[in-house]
Amino acid sequence: MRLVEVRHLTKAFARPRGWLRRPDETTVVDDVSFDIDEGETLGLVGESGSGKTTTGRCILRLIEPTSGEVRFKGEDVRAFAPARLRAARREMQIVFQDPYSSLNPRMRVDAIVAEPLVIHGIGDRSGREARVAELLQLVGLEPSMARRYPRDFSGGQRQRIAIARALALNPSFLIADEPVSSLDMTVQAQVMQLLMDLRQRLKLTCLFIAHDLRLVETVCTRLAVMYRGRIVEMGPTAAVFGSAKHAYTQALLSAIPVPDPTAKHTRITFEEASVNRTAPLRLMGENHWAAV
C-alpha cells in the first residue's frame, strides 16, 4: 500500500525586493514526484543545495510547498486545516541532522522526550514518565539519564534522544534527515544500526535523506537521486548502484572513496552542460527511472 504520495512538488523561495534589486525566486524543489510504500525505506540522496531537505520538510509541511500534492494514507496533506495537520503529525515524525541544535539545551531529557505527548494530550504525568523510560530504553539509553540536560550527552547519545522524541507518538512514517552526518564513524555505525533495528521492530516507513551514498546503500530499498531540485534517477538500490543511468548518478558513485588501497578507481566527471535539465524521468528497467 502507498503510504506517501508526492506529486509535482515544487518549492520556490522568494527573495524580496531589495536595494537596487528586483524581487526574484529560486526554485529549490522542482516538480518532484515519488511514492513511498508502507514498510519501505526510500533514500533521498543529493549534494548540498539539491533540495533534499526542503523536500522532506515540505512533506511534513514544516515548509509550505509552493505547488504540487502530498498525500499521506490517501489524504491530501496540503488541504489539512491546522488542527487536522497537528493530528496527522502524530503519524509523521522527523529526526533532524544536527543533534546539537535540535534539542533545547534548557530542557531536561525527560521533558524533551515527553513534549510530543504533552502537546498531543496523551497520558497523565506518571504515564508519560513510564513512556519516557520505555523510549529511552528503546534507543539504548539508561532511563536514569532522563533528568540530565542535553549538554551531558555526546553527539551520538543526543541523536538517540532525538530519535526517542520522534518515536514518542508511535508514528508510522519517519523522516530521517542526515541523522548521522555530524557523528564520528563508529558512532554513525551504532546509530544506523539502531535506526535499522527500530524500523524493523516498529514497522516504520522511512524517508532517509543523506548525502553519503555509502549510507543509503545498506539501509534503503529504493533510492531517489536529486540534482538541483529535480529527481534525476530513481529505482531499487541495487539497480541504481549496479547500473546507474544518469550521468550525474554515475559521477556521484565514482566519487565515493573506496576503503581499499589496492583498488584502481576511475572517476567519471559530470558536465552539467551535457545533460538536459528538464528531461522527464523515463523507465529504464524494472521500476528504475532516469531523466535521460
Binding site: M185, V258, D260, P261, F270
Partner: protein, 266 residues
C-alpha cells in the same frame, strides 16, 4: 631509509586546568619520509588535530607540550624560538585547514591573501607576489584565475575556497604539507576533486603529505602509510596495504567495520 623529513618521537601534549595538567596526546611517535604520504586517522577527540598544531608550534595555552621531540630536517622544532618557527611555518611546512569557509579573511581578496604569504616570507614584492598568486590559482585549477584573484572569499564555493587554501599552502614551495581534514566539509564529488588535486600537487611539487582525517576511505586512496589514533595514542601503524588487508588492533578493525556500504566491491 635515510633520515625522515619529519620525525616525531614520544610527543605528549596536555591541557592545564589550574594546577592539574591533563595529558591528551600520550607520547606518540611517527615519521614522514621525503615524498611520502602518511595518513593520521582517528575520531574526534583522538588528538590528531592537536598533533598537527604541535608540529607547527601552534599549541596555545592552556594547551602545552609536555615532552618529546619533533625533528624536521634534523632540527628540533619544539626547541625553536617563535621567530625561528615563523620562518619555517607556511614556508617549509604548510597547513591546510578543515574549514575553508572560516580559514580565509573575508575582507581581503583571495589573490592578496595568497600573495601575502609570499611577501611575509620575503619571497617576492607585492606586484610579483600578485602575479605569482594568479599562477598558483591556475595551478590548483581555478578557472579564469586572473579574475578570480580579485574575488572575496564569499564569492567562491567551498570547493574553490579549499583550492585557494591549497594554493596558499603551496605558495612558498613547502616540502611538507599537513592537511587537516581537507575534504570533510565538502560534497562527495568536490571531495574527490580535491583529493585528485592533492595527488597532482604532491607529484608536481614533490611534497611529503601528512593527511589527517577520520575517513579511512580517503586515506586508502592517498596514503603510503597509516597511523591510527585513539584517545591520544597511536594504536596501530602500518603500510596502508597491510593495515587495510590485516588490521591488528581491535580499534582499527572497528573503524574499518564502521565504513558504511559494501566498500571495495565496486
Amino acid at each position: 631509509m635515510a633520515d625522515p623529513l619529519l620525525d616525531v618521537s614520544d610527543l605528549s601534549i596536555g591541557f592545564a586546568c589550574g594546577a592539574v595538567t591533563t595529558p591528551v596526546v600520550h607520547g606518540i611517535s611517527f615519521n614522514v619520509g621525503a615524498g611520502e604520504t602518511v595518513g593520521l586517522v582517528g575520531e574526534s577527540g583522538s588528538g590528531k588535530s592537536l598533533t598537527a598544531l604541535a608540529l607547527l608550534g601552534l599549541v596555545r595555552p592552556p594547551g602545552r607540550i609536555l615532552g618529546g621531540r619533533v625533528q624536521f630536517r634534523g632540527r628540533d622544532l619544539l626547541a625553536l624560538s617563535e621567530e625561528e618557527l615563523r620562518t619555517i611555518r607556511g614556508a617549509d611546512i604548510a597547513l591546510v585547514f578543515q574549514e575553508p569557509m572560516t580559514a580565509l579573511n573575508p575582507v581581503f581578496t583571495v589573490g592578496d591573501q595568497i600573495a601575502e604569504t609570499l611577501v611575509v616570507h620575503g619571497r617576492a614584492d607585492w606586484p610579483a607576489a600578485r602575479a605569482r598568486a594568479i599562477e598558483l590559482l591556475d595551478a590548483v585549477r581555478i578557472p579564469d584565475p586572473s579574475r578570480r584573484a580579485h574575488d572575496y572569499p564569499h564569492q567562491l564555493s567551498g570547493g574553490q575556497l579549499q583550492r585557494v587554501l591549497i594554493a596558499m599552502a603551496l605558495s612558498c614551495r613547502p616540502s611538507l604539507l599537513i592537511a587537516d581534514e581537507p575534504t570533510t566539509a565538502l560534497d562527495v564529488r568536490i571531495q574527490a576533486d580535491i583529493l585528485d588535486l592533492l595527488r597532482d600537487m604532491r607529484a608536481q611539487f614533490g611534497l611529503s603529505l601528512l593527511l589527517i582525517t577520520h575517513d579511512l576511505g580517503v586515506v586508502a586512496g592517498m596514503a603510503d602509510r597509516v597511523a591510527v589514533m585513539q584517545a591520544g595514542r597511536i594504536v596501530e601503524q602500518a603500510p596502508a596495504k597491510t593495515l587495510f588487508a590485516s588490521p591488528q588492533h581491535s580499534y582499527t578493525r572497528e573503524l574499518l567495520a564502521s565504513i558504511p556500504g559494501d566498500g571495495g566491491t565496486r
